[in-house]
Subunit: 421 residues, 2 copies
């Protein structure tokens, strides 16, 4: 079968991000040769003194073998010592043999670093339904443990090793303050890496995200933050509406930084940390959209004035998943009727006469019909850009949501119809 | 803007259907010039002695002006005297002016034939958000009423006039028996016409269907049949998961045929009629899929063994709406992992170990993994065909559903991104 020609997405950031290392985290990569040649496809994230960890996972009812493993060990409440990731094989729909492969990998990592297997998170991404050849993975583990280093270079290599059909690596760092009542703040660092293009890659590229921080936070507080912020970051992006069997987002805290003890997720001392963590998560999520297969335009959909946030999100996703909206934007076509259609099919509480839609700064609707100032030429000119904003105000109540997506081009079809890696 | 080059779908039937006329129904067409040149775009269906009518309509909350009109007049329980349809302008999101345009058209038809306006069904299909120029429609109505004829040639012209981006006209006829207890059967005729390609045409082509019969059935019985059979015909097809503002399906009975009086929808004497009506509806629905924009393959998805029918339909639609499944089929790629993904995201009750998936006659899964006899070459060969069947047995209970869809090709994107008629 032909191989896809990988061209960097035109929406990729022009300059690579500066990545900060995280005290207590070391990383290594290696080449298993399972699917990819001439590149690393294994990533080990090693926490010297362990880490408090939270995770969110795919809601798929055909979730891959590593997902069940992760859910179980996070439930065990042991400190996590390492995360292993392989790219190229999802270990999904692989039956009992797939479950065994997860255990064999976890045991190999545990033996190499001297911990229990249930302290090792296992993640996979790649093709579904093929046996995971763990015998190609385990021989590399001892050397990875030995060579793991904290340098930002290692973070960069890690962000590349977890990719499948990604056309550029995705990493973001931020610093934040965690304060105490005396006004003394400690500086905390957060670094995250991610892979994926929604579900749009030839073999169903999964969304994987690994975020580490040196903050000293307990698993329940981390889980609370992660679950809440995930709704407005990774769960607010859509490329094609498909859901992976392997989606995984991990937040790990090494406690290497010293700061005021935090016992509640709503402690005001966490405000800046929460803001910066959200920035890391939203920027990683947007990088995934910027790498959507065939994408040439980033689309931001703001919905406000809804009966509640869930209705706003429903409308945002109906617009963001509509093939007709996404193809119109791909073609630079001022076909705003398709947005009306998408709003109508969302099943949300709306009053057509109150709908105020704007694309960019251009007002589209009023009183249940086209706005009196609407000029198709102005809208068509705006639609030629590569950063399109759609604003929908339902004018009912205060519910709101923001969704990010990309346009749908012929290249998406070409890649997904013609190629399999 | 460039105009689309209309090529007949490669999935169009090789021979045009034989259309039977219906006693009590006369048809006429005309050219309004609103959107299309050199073709008729107005259709009048005239019931000499009135008709009992049932309807099902889009669930969109931004439904077009004619939808509210139809719902209201069907509620009035007057005998319907005529149906008017215009193609090229949806009269959707057109505010109060749009509602007025519907009333003006209904009044014009009512005056021409001598009935009340609420005996006239109005339907529209085409571009959203543009004022409907009713002044281009009403001048044609008197002549249409005068020239309306019952011939099958008029049915054929009508099936063409209601089309927008359709590449072939869609019409089906069947005869049925409605029996009495003495074993005496009367022959009934059913003829239906439809337009649409799901929601996939440049300006959101609507699904419209008009079915007429000479049976003598009351509106409640017709409504019961239509609602029930619609679920397994027009509501079991998907091209791109989008929902029109204008979807309308009308069933009209002229009572020109004499048969046993029917007072209940479950009267055994209706069995053959119900079967034949379902055939008409399913065949029209499949013709719409065969005209899906860019479609090169018809995909039939059978789901059985589900906890209940709703779960089976949810899974069928998740597969049928998955871009990754539809692009894989477009490319003839044996990428069955995408079916696993789609089943997983459906939110239905499943047990992965019990899933039995077959594509054509080829068994794909067993015991939560790939089937031992699976051979990719055999599946790849099957995937080159233009009629693809996917069978999913959940092996849980007796729920079942069948969904029809088409593949997703680059031509879909090209048409929807680059053109607006």
């Amino acid at each position: 079968m032909r191989k896809p020609v990988i061209q960097t997405s035109p929406l990729a950031p022009k300059t690579p991000p500066e990545i900060s290392k995280i005290a207590g985290v070391r990383l290594a990569t290696a080449q298993s040769g399972i699917t990819y040649q001439r590149r690393d496809d294994l990533m080990l994230m090693y926490f010297d003194k362990g880490a408090a960890v939270a995770g969110v996972f795919t809601r798929s009812s055909t979730a891959a073998a590593p997902i069940a493993w992760c859910r179980q060990i996070l439930n065990d409440k042991s400190k996590i010592k390492a995360i292993l990731c392989n790219a190229g094989n999802a270990n999904a729909f692989t039956g009992k043999e797939g479950e065994e492969a997860v255990k064999i990998c976890a045991k190999a990592v545990a033996e190499a670093i001297g911990c229990a297997p249930n302290q090792v998170i296992i993640t996979s991404t790649g093709v579904i339904g093929e046996r995971l050849p763990h015998e190609n993975i385990t021989p590399h583990i001892a050397a990875m443990v030995k060579s793991a280093a904290a340098d930002s270079k290692n973070w960069h290599e890690a962000s590349k090793a977890i990719g499948t059909t990604d056309t550029f690596p995705k990493a973001i760092s931020r610093t934040a303050k965690i304060g105490d009542s005396a006004g003394t703040d400690s500086t905390i660092t957060i670094t995250g890496i991610a892979k994926g293009s929604g579900m749009i890659a030839p073999n169903m590229a999964t969304m994987l995200g690994f975020i580490a921080t040196d903050a000293d936070l307990s698993p329940p507080i981390l889980q609370n933050l992660l679950t809440q912020l995930n709704e407005v970051s990774f769960n607010a992006i859509t490329v094609d509406g498909d859901t992976s069997t392997n989606d995984t987002l991990i937040l790990a805290a090494t406690a290497a930084a010293k700061h005021k003890a935090i016992t509640r997720p709503d402690d005001p001392a966490l405000a800046d940390f929460t803001t910066k963590l959200l920035e890391v998560m939203q920027e990683l999520a947007q990088l995934i959209i910027r790498d959507g297969e065939g994408a040439r335009k980033l689309i931001t959909i703001h919905v406000k004035g809804a009966a509640h946030d869930a209705d706003a999100k429903r409308i945002g996703l109906a617009i963001g998943n509509s093939l007709l909206v996404k193809t119109a934007i791909a073609g630079g076509d001022a076909n705003w009727g398709r947005i009306i259609m998408a709003i109508g099919k969302a099943g949300a509480n709306i009053i057509p006469q109150k709908l105020a839609i704007a694309i960019g700064d251009i007002k589209i609707t009023q009183d249940g019909k086209r706005h009196q100032d609407y000029d198709e030429k102005t809208l068509t000119a705006y639609m030629q850009g590569d950063d399109i904003t759609i604003e929908v105000d339902l004018n009912i109540a205060q519910g709101q949501a923001t969704i990010w997506t990309c346009d749908l081009t012929e290249r998406y079809i070409a890649i997904n119809a013609d190629y399999r890696s």
